[in-house]
Amino acid sequence: MAQTSSFKQLSDYSWEIPQSYKPGMNVPAKIYATRKLLEAMDTGVIEQVTNVACLPGIVRQAYAMADAHWGYGFPIGGVAAFDIEDGIISPGGIGFDINCGMRLIRTNLTYSEVKPKIKELVDLIFKLVPAGVGVKGFLRVSEPQFDEIMKYGVKWCAENGQAWEDDPAHVEEGGYIKGADPSKVSRQARTRGIDQLGTLGSGNHYLEVQVVDPARYFDQELARHFGIVQDDQVLVMIHCGSRGFGHQIGSDYLRVFDGAMKRYGIQVKDRELACAPFASKEGKDYYGAMVCAANMAFTNRQIIVQRVREAFSRTFHREAEALDMHLIYDVCHNVAKVERHFYEGKSADVLVHRKGATRSFGPGHPDIPAPYRGIGQPVIIGGSMETGSYLLVGTQKAMEETFGSTAHGSGRTMSRTAARREVRGAELQRNMLDRGIYVKAATMDGLAEEAGMAYKDISEVVETMDRAGISKKVVALRPVGNIKG
């Protein structure tokens, strides 16, 4: 439980931790939460967000979103922007799973059509999309092709028969972030990553068949922009990242930065906050490698979508195009990007770290693809496999308050070991089936660790971000089929 007596309440949904809270804080910290969420937040979040506020070159505030929980270095659900000249870049502010993110595709099927075939469909996807410990992918690429993937992500997929024509435009950054430098990627990272394309991974990664929840269909007009047009419409959500490739890049550069900090006279409150000036050689090298992993992650999710389209097509005996299986959007939630923001009376480029946080650009922003530019960037918030997920849109207020950022999920309240003590995987699987959710899991222990009770109430998290004006609810999606890595 967090001790909140020294916090300043800014509104019903936001709190400020003053700079006086801890020696060395360069800026205050800000937490988005109801009083209930704040008081339930683990102390690690407070410790970590205030440690982030001590980092060199941080501007304005360090943020923890309503889903924040104790991570390593940064809290998960953390956002921090740094001056690009005087500020730092930190692998711990991005996470090892670089560009872990969410992807949402629609179908024109309703639940009444899918329900009789849900087992067949989920079993087929489970067969087509490798999941779990140490799995290999099905797409074989050469070293030069892997370099192209690092540089061009989903654009490479579109040029090589692995994407539909309109897919790249529906991915954050148009399917690839510019600035990738494959020469800064180690041999070990390449070897770990090259045969993992199209794999889901494990932990909290999942692939879910979902249905529009008629009781929580908040804004039908906005939903229409995404091709969501009816109650009980079936969609597919994917949560995964850059696999061993990104993990190794994170590990490699954490070692580099751990050694480099002394040279730059930087001291941090947690070794996992190891960092280097963004403008330094180490900073530039890591950024170039990190972008390679981000583009690999976009590609990984894209390859998985191709398999999901195939599974639907085989199950429902119609082409995926006839099933209208277009990509709604793909968002990163573990990444750092150079973005132009207006703050403290000036417009400036800053390096925004989002670790377990989603970009939430408001209407009119030029980086939002044309079909959505008038309504704001789609924000995909994934919940636990029992409670469902949400689609929201970004807002102007997020641009003004949080460098265009919002929450990413529901956030854990219980550790993995504690969750495993509370429930057995097989029992959970049976209970979920009774409630209309068919689950296939690569591991029963892993399934138990992802039980809904291990997470915060996603509705309260989403409500907080909506009421705070940082993102706007469009529709809730309830799970009917789940593949747990």
Partner: protein
Amino acid sequence: MTFRYLPDVALADVAFEAEAGSLGELFESCALALTDIMVDPATLKPAVARDISLESDDADRLLYDFLTELIIAKDVDSLLFREYSIETAPDGRSLRATARGEPIDRERHSLRNDVKAVTMHMFGIRHEGGKWMATVVLDI
């Protein structure tokens, strides 16, 4: 030689504390904890041996590199290990180890979590009261 999980630390990940009478045994305890997180070790056979030699700047970083090496073997060669014999140099800056295990078999092995990386959150080796101890948080 033993390890115990720290259930209240880093909720989305897995933290453990290891304890041993020597530095080599401490490394072994940490490696066994890593195995236990990825697979039920009782379902693994020590069928394949992998020799590992590493040098590093200090004992902390040697442990970081050693555990990372085992994670890489899981991804690159699909190998999981259940037995380790480890000799560390007196200065704690190098080691020679043999890890025994086998390639992943999804039918026979009771697999658990895919460990992504060793974090440096709370990471470190301590030598207290004649015992060697380490705290490790793994990213899941």
